[in-house]
Symmetry: C2
Subunit: 160 residues, 2 copies
DNA sequence: TATTGTTATACTCTATAACTATA
DNA sequence: TATAGTTATAGAGTATAACAATA
């Protein structure tokens, strides 16, 4: 699969099964890979890396402030976002200021420029997604996105 | 969230965007990761690795015979499936016989035992997928899977 | 003692190059 | 010369461990 499946954080090939219906992952994983492949040149054109874009999106949501919280929010190790933060800060896309209430922590914030870059990249990314969503009619598209959001939102609720 | 995206074959974190709607990849990638995480213990219980399962599924489809064709079919480098093939062969799940018409090539075939293992694992995997598909009603499920198959099938058709 | 951010190290997985034997 | 399969090497990306500063 991308057929790739993911363990640790690495990607593996996925089968397109011969069963009555293919495994969900076997359908989804190649699609994800294509979507990601389509995103990368767009991000590059906007001077962003994938991780950088991830961070900007998370900060723009405004739900995290510290590096530790950010790392958890994007499911990354706290050590592996540091370089990304360094670069984003150096480019003026984020700010990193000491937390006056906890001098160990540094508070992160997306800058106006960072938001502009992120929004511009995202707009182009979502236009590109029409290559796939355009295969669906209006009703299918509505149901698909609703279903997908529900399944994605179930993330933290499941029993195991 | 997985939040992982894929480049080369590696995984990256994905944003949950603040836009009108999240990026498709941001919705799909975490879901894929969860699906994969759910598959792994099942595969392990059946004595299979993810790559091994991928290979068995591909061979069971019967569309490829040589190692090179298999590698292409599962989007893997030809060098990185060899160990997997060695293991599968050693476990009696596949056969690898010289091609009488081209003595360079080795023809791959899933064995009856291999098919049993694959089918058993797949049945359990698809039962486990009900954790997600069960969130959809009958009509949603039908539309979702149809839409997904259409988008996944578009793989080789697109303009770029 | 625990936590935040950081750096340095080791490990996993992958791709690349090089080899052989055939074609 | 090109291709199928294989092996060995180097590289990218990640997690783990260890550290300083602060709580």
């Amino acid at each position: 699969m991308i057929c790739t499946c993911i363990r640790y954080g690495n990607a593996y090939a996925f089968p397109v099964s011969s069963a009555r219906r293919p495994d969900l992952a076997a359908l989804l994983a190649p699609l994800v890979r294509e979507l990601v492949a389509a995103e990368e040149p767009v991000l590059a054109a906007h001077g962003l890396t994938m991780w950088g874009y991830v961070v900007l999106c998370a900060l723009d949501r405004g739900e995290v402030r510290t590096q530790a919280a950010l790392a958890e929010a994007i499911n990354a190790d706290k050590t592996r976002i540091i370089r990304t933060l360094d670069d984003l800060q150096h480019s003026g896309l984020i700010e990193r200021v000491p937390d006056p209430e906890d001098r160990r922590a540094r508070l992160l914030r997306i800058t106006a420029q960072g938001r502009r870059s992120k929004d511009a990249a995202q707009a182009q990314i979502q236009r590109g997604e029409e290559r796939w969503l355009g295969l669906l009619d209006t009703e299918e598209r509505r149901v698909f996105l609703r279903a997908l959001r529900r399944m994605a939102a179930d993330r933290n609720d499941g029993p195991a």
